[in-house]
């Protein structure tokens, strides 16, 4: 897996010298800064107004403001992974290097996960700010970050798969946006249906997922879902690369 590490290192290196990285990171932080400010403001005026117990848990799981930008940022981060290589032709030297398809995919996936972590790292400062002006439930905060990591594990895997399938970066971005949008919409079904359909939608729901983690509840059903989707998407991506050799 040494070659996967080499692939990952190059991917991250290229990402962080591209203007795209800084446009994404800056707009992401601006967006989250505004969301955090709005939530804090709201909680300062109305004590315990919603289901969530603090601005932090609302930030991580209570508001749709959390998910809407993700549906856009994830595709933008993952579109280059393989579709970019195909577009520039560098896929040919990559696929003719003496390394396995699995090493390429694992390296790309590792890079995507690292980007995801970089995206979230600065938000730790919100928890610190809260701790200066009140009490922070650190257990719930750690569970929230764990939940975010797991959510990223499958979001990034879906983005990677779409990038493996698509001929161009734009198409990869659109496909990932649609895939995540469908998952998000199915999750909303939790509030629409009854019975088994409701159970199913709640299981898929990103919202339910983060609401549970943001309260400090690490629900293994959600973990099973995240890991299954991630493993499936990564496995399929390896298959797509292998199949491409056959025309």
């Amino acid at each position: 897996m040494r070659s996967a590490w080499v692939v990952m290192r190059r991917e991250l290196g290229s990402f962080f010298v591209s203007p795209l990285a800084y446009v994404v990171l800056t707009s992401w932080l601006v967006w989250n800064g505004v969301v955090f400010w709005v939530l804090t403001e709201f909680y300062a005026r109305n004590a315990v107004a919603s289901g969530a117990s603090s601005p932090l848990s609302a930030f991580f799981g209570g508001s749709s403001l959390f998910f809407i930008p993700l549906l856009v940022f994830v595709p933008v981060l993952t579109m280059r992974l393989l579709a970019g290589e195909r577009q520039s032709g560098t896929i040919e030297p990559l696929m003719t290097a003496p390394i396995s398809e699995a090493a390429i995919i694992v390296g790309k996936y590792g890079a995507a996960i690292a980007m995801w972590c970089v995206l979230w790292l600065p938000t730790v400062i919100y928890a610190w700010i809260m701790s200066q002006h009140g009490t922070v439930d650190w257990g719930a905060t750690i569970a929230s970050y764990f939940g975010i990591f797991m959510l990223g594990a499958y979001f990034m895997a879906i983005g990677l798969l779409m990038s493996a399938l698509a001929p161009t970066q734009i198409i990869a971005a659109v496909l990932s946006f649609v895939a995540l949008g469908v998952l998000f919409t199915v999750g909303i079904g939790e509030f629409v249906f009854d019975g088994t359909a409701r159970e199913f939608c709640a299981y898929v729901s990103m919202w339910g997922h983060m609401q549970s983690f943001s309260k400090g509840v690490v629900d293994t059903r959600y973990l099973a879902f995240d890991l299954s989707v991630a493993t499936l998407a990564v496995g399929l991506s390896i298959g797509v690369l292998k199949a491409r050799r056959h025309g």
């Binding site: 070659s3 190059r10 591209s18 030297p93 696929m95």
Partner: protein
């Protein structure tokens, strides 16, 4: 592609000729494992390149058509990255040696995207030499080079005679006459000739025209 069988001996420099669209690039892509053949066999240095693709690829230096490179990287960064992918032992030495061989030492710190086509071409050549492979496969290696660079390139390839096996695709006939011990000509995905440039009495140009010129359809001959 259909019935393109040939064998290049160790230390031989072979030219791979054919009109545009004859299937040169496709054939080379099958040799390098980028594409899998639907039928038939590919052996690289005695290794079955379809079953043991990675082992076969480890013995190849390949310069794809158009020389795709990571444009945002510096030349030495790119070569280091590629050397690491190829699991080269002494990366720094290998990078210096291939920069020197390909004549791009002066551009080592430059960003690839800002290089001229000739330089990028030579970075691609340096890349193919990194692991000191016994076999080199070069797809139109001199396109974009100026006459002096072409001459340097030919001298470099000639210097491999006897030590490395080289297969180079081109449609420049003078290049084949200058550097190749052998010529393989294909047309419409089929091999039509396998000869040494000095063999026949007629010039290579005539042989090529004879074998590959498209005949008008309906010609009864």
């Amino acid at each position: 592609m259909n019935d393109v069988s040939f064998r290049v001996e160790r230390g031989e420099i072979a030219g791979f000729l054919g009109p545009n669209g004859a299937g040169k690039t496709t054939t080379l892509r099958m040799l390098t494992g980028y594409l899998a053949p639907t039928s038939g066999e590919v052996h690289v240095d005695g290794i079955d390149a379809v079953r043991s693709s990675i082992e076969a690829r480890a013995r190849l230096g390949y310069m794809p058509e158009g020389v795709p490179l990571y444009r945002e990287m510096r030349v030495f960064e790119y070569l280091r990255h590629r050397a690491a992918l190829k699991a080269v032992d002494r990366i720094a030495e290998a990078v210096d040696r291939s920069l020197e061989l390909a004549g791009v030492t002066d551009a080592r710190r430059r960003i690839i995207g800002q290089l001229s086509k000739g330089y990028r071409q030579r970075v691609g050549l340096a890349e193919s030499l990194l692991a000191d492979p016994p076999i080199l496969i070069l797809d139109e290696p001199t396109s974009g080079l100026d006459p002096n660079q072409v001459r340097q390139f030919r001298q470099l390839v000639r210097s491999f005679a006897g030590t490395k096996t080289v297969l180079l695709s081109t449609h420049i006939l003078s290049e084949v006459e200058a550097v190749c011990d052998r010529v393989i000509i294909i047309r419409e995905g089929q091999k039509v000739a396998d000869l040494a440039p000095g063999d026949s009495d007629t010039s290579l140009e005539d042989v090529f025209a004879d074998l590959t010129a498209s005949r008008p359809s309906g010609d009864a001959s």
